[in-house]
Structures are given as structure tokens and as C-alpha cells.
């Protein structure tokens, strides 16, 4: 198996294709797309709605399977994992932040973050400590006893980020994380995502059409009609490894 070498991208797609069938209409969303994402980078995929960026995110994160091509993440070929193994892969290695915050109304911020950690097998005290630390990192240490109904939209999204972050994933996927937020809260979320990539060395892959994010991304991919139109890098990346597509 020609798994990527250590210097190569941590997340790697090779000639992937994906189509959706609705009735008799078959829509080819991605067609032979190849892409490599470097470790510790904040990569932004932007483009108009319907360009296939969310599908690409779903495929790279192991939420959806490809029709053709191969996806490698952290050295595993995702297409070879069965449903159970894929769940385990996501549990150990990935975090997600969605546009909607998807928090359980009944749980406090601390419990929301703690919940997935138990499934990771962490003992109770350790899970609680890690959850508290994650909430502290997103600036919610003083609000962690509150339920979603008592939090603002920006705070809820920060809880969602803390929930993803507490697992200490190598890969963090974010889908339109700022589109439901006002300017100030959007900026806060952007700063947090940026900091996660910097300080934790987490690979952050973000799908968004929010122009504010462009300035914070290490790399910006513009997509249209299932293809990557442009691939731009921000000014000198301090400690990133070149992640050029093959």
C-alpha cells in the first residue's frame, strides 16, 4: 500500500469522485479531485453554495464514502475501514464543529464537553478536568455550569468547539462555523480555530464562505463545480510543512 510518507500531507485525497442521485437525476458533485492537507495548518475551503465543498469535507472526515478514488487520513485508507472502524477512527482522531451548535438542551456546558470523553474511555475525573480545561481555553471557564438556553450563540459555538477540542484530535473539521454568528462572535471563533492550529498542532480544515476567515487561514482553496480553482498560501508559513498535491 502506498501510504503517504511522513513528510507528505496528513490528509490526502486521490482522484475522488462522488455523485448524488435524486430520482432519475444524477449529479456529479466531485469528479477526480486530488488534494493534500498539511499537518498543523488551518486550511480554508471556500466557494459558492453547491460547489461541493461540504461533500469534500464529509469525505475527508470519514462521514461519507467515495464512489471512486481513495482517501488517506493519518496513514489509514478510510475506504478500507468498515462502519465500526470508521466510528472508532473518528472517536480517536477527529473533532467536528458544525454550523448549528447541536448541543443537548439538558446538559450543562461542562457535561456537553465531557460526554464524548467518556466514550473515549477516560476516567471520570480526567474527563471532567479535560473538559474544564477545554472550556477555559475557549474563554468559558466562568459559564461552564450553564445550559445552552442560558448561553448566547457565540458561547454555544465555543462550547461546540471545546467539545471537539477536548478529545485532543489530530484533525478538526469545521463546517461554516461562523455563519450563524454576528461579527464579534464570528471573530472570536476564528481566533480560537487559528489558535488551535497554532498551539496544538491540530490540522484544521474549515469550509466557509466567510471572507473574514481568509486572512486567518494558512491556505485557501477556492472551489467551484466540484473542482479546485485556486490554491493560495498566506505569507511565510512559520513552521508548516509544504503540503503540495501530488
Amino acid at each position: 500500500m502506498n501510504a503517504p510518507t511522513p513528510a507528505a500531507p496528513i490528509l490526502y485525497a486521490e482522484g475522488i469522485g462522488k455523485a448524488f442521485v435524486s430520482g432519475r437525476v444524477r449529479t456529479q458533485v466531485l469528479d477526480g479531485l486530488s488534494l493534500g492537507i498539511g499537518p498543523g495548518e488551518l486550511t480554508l475551503i471556500s466557494g459558492p453554495s453547491g460547489c461541493g465543498k461540504s461533500t469534500l469535507l464529509a469525505i475527508l472526515s470519514g462521514l461519507q464514502r467515495v464512489d471512486s478514488g481513495r482517501v488517506f487520513a493519518l496513514g489509514s485508507e478510510l475506504g478500507l475501514l468498515d462502519g465500526h472502524a470508521l466510528e472508532r477512527f473518528r472517536l480517536r482522531h477527529t473533532g467536528f464543529v458544525f454550523q448549528g451548535f447541536n448541543l443537548f438542551p439538558a446538559l450543562s456546558a461542562l457535561e456537553q464537553v465531557e460526554l464524548p470523553l467518556h466514550y473515549l474511555g477516560l476516567p471520570r475525573e480526567q474527563a471532567r478536568a479535560r473538559a474544564a480545561q477545554s472550556l477555559d481555553e475557549v474563554g468559558l471557564a466562568h459559564r461552564m455550569r450553564l445550559r445552552p438556553a442560558e448561553l448566547s450563540g457565540g458561547e454555544k459555538q465555543r462550547v461546540a468547539i471545546a467539545r471537539a477540542l477536548a478529545k485532543q484530535p489530530e484533525l478538526l473539521f469545521a463546517d461554516e462555523p461562523t455563519s450563524a454568528l454576528d461579527a464579534a462572535n464570528g471573530q472570536t471563533v476564528i481566533d480560537i480555530l487559528h489558535r488551535i492550529a497554532r498551539s496544538h498542532g491540530t490540522t484544521v480544515l474549515c469550509v466557509s464562505h466567510d471572507p473574514r476567515l481568509i486572512g486567518h487561514a494558512d491556505r485557501v482553496l477556492a472551489m467551484e463545480d466540484g473542482r479546485i480553482l485556486s490554491d493560495r498560501r498566506a505569507a511565510p508559513p512559520a513552521a508548516t510543512i509544504e503540503g503540495t498535491p501530488p
Partner: protein
């Protein structure tokens, strides 16, 4: 572990309330129905449950205590030969016609001829010794307090049974019969009242007390063999009482009715409960999908739903128990015959929890919509 199922149930209790009520009422309905049926049909075995005998000996194949036929009195010898048997006593049961002084017409009565000794076995629990002693007078009978009006006679009054004069010397409680009126007399009086010449001097049953009641089953088995004294069969008091109640329950169709209603209650309860749980899962489907995206397996999410169903069942049952206990106490205070035994209670609990479990399994299916890929839109 964060108790997601329980916390959601508490926080969103309004959402789960219909399911809890459905389980609760299903359980309550079953419980009260069982208690009423057992109470009403339990009086079929009042001769057995009101007495202190451990073994009952009667005609082979007798399905209910009121269907007995005379047996050979010499079987008593056979019983007494067994070292485990401490005492044997005859019991005469006969169907008779009562004519009171008032205008009550004919009343169908069941005459129980018993040994009136102070320590007699028959009706030891229903008749205190002083009352039993009064049966030694010739033609004396005792009836239940609740039947006095029906019989058109007061204490001290006279009436006729099968055309022979009897005198009511006292009343008791706990003697009510199913489908007629119980009249208790001494064995001698009962023999005089028996109009069937073929009965001769034979008892309908022989009842026995054992030295060790715990051995009842083994002794009954041992005594069953041997036909030297003519046909007879031996039952333990418990099994004969159960046999009598079951006979009435199925003879009247009440048993089938109970089972039929249990099915309906189960079905209606399951529909309401499962719909409520399905809606509750559907309301949290995005949160479940997010957990699945984060790697929490579908199996683990199914457990959360099943746990919720379990708590819904437990809370419903708790409500049913409190309400049921109150209603049963009320029924007792109003002389409504209600009896609840462990088997019936466990059956009701199993039914209610089974209902919750089936609903939980149905609700699990809606977890299929918790596909995390749908969150990326």
C-alpha cells in the same frame, strides 16, 4: 458518565410525560383488573383459604371445590396411617334450596357441614371458636353478614333448607360465595339437610392437617397411590384453591377477558409510548448525529434511547403503584373484593416494562436518521 438519558428525561419532562402516563395507566389498569378478578374469583376457594387444612382429599378429577362428589369415608383410615398426618376431618358440601321467612322466594345456597370443635380445621380462619360452638345445637346454621338481606332472615330467625327447618344462630364475615350463598352447619345438621339418598353417610371431602405443613406436596404425592378405598385424589390446599379459582375464571370467560384486555392495553400503551419516544429521539436527532460524528457509536446511542425507555417505564410504574395502592385501599374500605398476589403483581410489572422496552426498540429505529453527513449542509 454523563447521564444523558436521565438528564434529558428530567429537563424535557413535558416531552416524555405522555409516555410515562401511558405506561402508568397501562400498568394501573392491569393491576386493578387483576386485583378485581382475583378478589371476585378468589371467593370460589373461600372454603380452602378460610380453613387450616394442609391437604384436601376428594373425588378424582374434581375441578373446583363446588363440584365435589362423595368419597368413601374409610379413606380417613388410609390418611391416618401416614405418620405425617396429624388430623383428619370430614367436610360435607351440598347444593340446596333455601326458603326464608321474608318474601325472598327460593335462594340457591351451598351448605358446608363442618366439625364445630373449637380447634376444627374447616373455616378456622373465618369462624371464631365461640361462634363454632353454637353450631352444636341441632339445626343451627351460620351465614355471612352480607347475605342476611338476601336470605330474608335475622339472627335467631328460622328458615327451611331442602324443606327442613334451620335456625340462624350467628353471622360471620369472609364467607361470601361465588354464584350463591354459603351456609355453615355442623356435620350432623348437614347430613340431615342432604336430600340425595345416594350420598349416604359419605363426606364430600376429607381435609387433613400435617405435622409439618412444609411437607404437604410430598405427602400429597405419597397418598395419591392405592385404590383400596375407592377412588380419591389428594391435593395440597394451595393447589386445590388455585384449581378452583382457575376453573371459575376460565369457565366464566373472565380469564380470557383478562388476557384480551391485557393485549389491548399493551397495544394502546405501546403505540402511545413508542410514538412519544420516537418524537423525543427525532427532536434530538441532530445532537445524536453530532455525537456520532465525534465517534460515539450507533450502538452506544441506541443504549441511550433504551435507557430512556427504561426510565419512562420505571416512572410510569411508580405512579401506577402509588395510585394503585390508594385505589385498592379505597376498594377494601368499601367491601369491594380486591386481592393482589405476587404472581399477578409481577405479571403487571413485566407487562408495563415490556411495553416500555418494545417502545424503546421502536424509537431506536428513528436513530437511523441521525446520519452526521446530513449535518454538513
Amino acid at each position: 458518565m454523563v447521564a444523558l438519558a436521565r438528564k434529558t428525561l428530567v429537563y424535557e419532562w413535558r416531552r416524555f410525560l405522555p409516555a410515562i402516563l401511558a405506561v402508568g395507566f397501562a400498568g394501573l389498569l392491569q393491576l386493578l383488573q387483576a386485583a378485581l378478578v382475583l378478589g371476585i374469583f378468589g371467593s370460589a376457594s373461600v372454603y380452602i383459604t378460610g380453613s387450616a387444612a394442609d391437604l384436601w382429599v376428594g373425588y378424582p378429577g374434581t375441578q373446583s371445590v363446588n363440584l365435589g362428589r362423595p368419597i368413601d369415608p374409610n379413606v380417613e383410615m388410609r390418611l391416618l396411617m401416614d405418620p405425617a398426618v396429624a388430623r383428619v376431618e370430614p367436610f360435607i358440601w351440598l347444593d340446596a334450596d333455601w326458603r326464608g321467612q321474608g318474601e325472598t322466594g327460593g335462594v340457591s345456597v351451598f351448605v358446608s357441614g363442618i366439625d364445630p370443635r373449637a380447634d376444627g380445621l374447616m373455616f378456622a380462619h373465618a369462624l371464631p371458636p365461640a361462634l363454632r360452638a353454637r353450631l352444636n345445637e341441632p339445626d343451627a346454621v351460620i351465614v355471612d353478614r352480607a347475605d342476611i338481606d338476601k336470605l330474608g332472615v335475622g339472627v335467631g330467625g328460622t328458615a327451611a333448607i331442602n324443606g327442613r327447618r334451620v335456625r340462624v344462630v350467628g353471622v360471620s364475615s369472609g364467607l361470601r360465595a361465588l354464584g350463591g350463598v354459603n351456609v355453615v352447619s355442623s356435620l350432623d345438621t348437614a347430613r340431615r339437610l342432604d336430600s340425595d339418598p345416594t350420598d349416604g353417610d359419605r363426606p364430600t371431602y376429607l381435609v387433613a392437617r400435617l405435622r409439618d405443613p412444609a411437607q404437604a406436596q410430598a405427602v400429597a404425592r405419597r397418598l395419591r397411590g392405592g385404590g383400596a378405598f375407592g377412588p380419591y385424589e389428594v391435593w395440597t390446599a394451595d393447589s386445590f384453591a388455585r384449581r378452583s379459582v382457575m376453573y371459575w375464571m376460565f369457565d366464566t370467560g373472565a380469564g380470557a377477558g383478562v388476557l384480551f384486555l391485557a393485549g389491548i392495553v399493551f397495544l394502546v400503551g405501546a403505540v402511545i409510548t413508542s410514538q412519544t419516544l420516537v418524537a423525543a429521539v427525532a427532536g434530538s436527532v441532530r445532537e445524536y448525529a453530532t455525537l456520532n460524528a465525534l465517534g460515539v457509536g450507533v450502538a452506544a446511542l441506541r443504549w441511550v434511547v433504551l435507557e430512556q425507555a427504561f426510565w419512562v417505564g420505571a416512572l410510569g410504574l411508580l405512579g401506577a403503584t402509588v395510585l394503585g395502592a390508594g385505589l385498592l385501599l379505597l376498594a377494601r374500605s368499601q367491601d369491594v373484593p380486591v386481592v393482589l398476589n405476587a404472581t399477578a403483581t409481577i405479571a403487571c410489572v413485566v407487562l408495563a416494562m415490556g411495553l416500555a422496552a418494545v417502545s424503546g426498540l421502536a424509537a431506536m429505529r428513528s436513530l437511523r436518521r441521525a446520519d452526521p453527513a446530513t449535518l454538513l449542509r
